[in-house]
Symmetry: C2
Subunit: 251 residues, 2 copies
DNA sequence: ATGTCTTTGTGAACGCGTGCACAAAGATGG
DNA sequence: CCATCTTTGTGCACGCGTTCACAAAGACAT
């Protein structure tokens, strides 16, 4: 789960569970694909397979939105696309600013998935004066000094932070002070924000570490029955009673 | 959370819950920062604050690893860094290939967070013949034709997919066939993989959509008490008993 | 040694999310 | 109109994860 939220107890907005909300974009994507192929209706079984989830879960998810299906037939694709879009707030325009136009920021600016779903890159912001005015993805980069004005002029409420870790909290504070209430954070830092501000984080390094854990486990398991495994590290699961004292470990 | 796994029921490897595994990298990062400041010990309260979690949760997480704390004092920073690194499998070298060297792939190749944690970018692979040989982040890009050989020669078990959605499943199949057992997927598609292969996905668009949902909810809530809200869409939360009829009605 | 004080480690309760399994609803055919 | 068949919507039970609250463990001072 690359994603995590800041505290706040429940967040069950109007009864729609958080887990369901997280899956709605998945359903929406599958439905959009069906819509483009002019498929009129789809059963929970088919759609669930396309979205990679359990069909019962999908039906329960949709039940939170209302009863939009027809028994014996399935769901009307167009209708469902509309309902989910509306529920997610994608029927309106969301201006977004991206702060930190390095490799990642540029990649995000160029990412087509934003524009296609109601998100509009309203501005690119970077602290490097040399970047100012230079167009990235057809949008001229602006300097950090103008951050507050940009947020205000474009009525931005969603900000994307793609700066180095050291600058992230400071940028975050300025975004929030300027009125941003939702932040997507790519910097490897824990951001602290006041109540009422949502933060989601995407941490590439953490994802890889989680994969490494499972990878190691898999290697350890098959090494148990099969001595000469792939990437053999001889001492791992033995579990010495007190653990060996470390050498100085890398960062 | 931008992250999700493919099915598989439990995955509680040796008793360490999945949720705990996902937090270990977070603790590790905070501990590393402390270590660099030569802080010798840290209490669960302090560390939890730094990692942005509940202190009880942190203690329970650590309890799955063993009893590494000292009551009345706290945890030894260096020791804990080592233990978590070992648990996550970061004491060994993980060669990684990145497939799809577009904007995002290049950003990933340049991302410093990989190298610092035992992950080594073993190769960059792209389908564009014009890219072949061109260095990105100091590493020459290789052509997709050589994918299987590259995986094999470098004994790669972790692959990163940063291709367009259309190519992702095909690349995935080839990676898996070549021996990759863990995949980090940035393409906006649901990948299907055989049992035993772990997939984590990072989907930028989905993260934004989840933020938009909460943003809309916030706007709706404050609009209830305050008529002239920010981005006013006049008809949203009233919640007509049956929802308003969409443009196209189902049969 | 003994008492006090801090902090860990964990038992237990609670809530959320998941998946099964089935009844109700509607389509379809005769 | 009735029977049958398909597919939804959901009641229910179970398991995981979170949080509280506290006893046990050790440090430290006297």
């Amino acid at each position: 789960m690359a994603t995590g939220r800041t505290h706040r107890p429940a967040t069950r907005s109007r009864g729609i569970p958080e887990a369901t909300v997280a899956r709605l974009p998945l359903y929406l994507r599958a439905l959009t694909a069906l819509s483009e192929r002019s498929v009129p209706t789809v059963s929970s079984e088919e759609l669930a397979a396309a979205a990679g989830v359990n069909s019962a879960k999908l039906r329960k998810d949709f039940s939170y939105l209302g009863s939009y299906g027809t028994r014996g037939v399935g769901y009307d694709v167009e209708y469902l696309v509309y309902q989910i879009s509306r529920e997610l707030g994608l029927t309106q325009d969301w201006p977004v600013v991206i702060v930190g136009i390095g490799n990642l920021g540029a990649a995000l600016a160029n990412y087509g998935g934003f524009a296609s779903r109601g998100f509009r890159v309203a501005a690119l912001i970077d602290a490097d004066p040399n970047m100012a005015g230079k167009p990235v993805a057809g949008i001229p980069v602006q300097h950090t000094d103008d951050l507050e004005r940009i947020i205000h002029d474009n009525d931005v409420s969603i900000g994307v932070i793609a700066t180095p870790a050291g600058a992230a909290q400071q940028v975050c504070d300025r975004l929030v002070a300027a009125g941003v209430t939702s932040i997507l954070n790519f910097a490897p830092t824990v951001l602290s924000v006041p109540d009422g501000v949502d933060v989601r984080k995407v941490d590439l390094s953490i994802e890889l570490q989680i994969l490494a854990f499972h990878e190691q486990r898999k290697a350890g398991e098959e090494a148990a029955g099969e001595p000469g495994a792939v990437a053999g590290n001889p001492e791992d699961p033995g579990q010495g009673p007190d653990g060996d004292v470390p050498a100085v470990m890398p960062a």
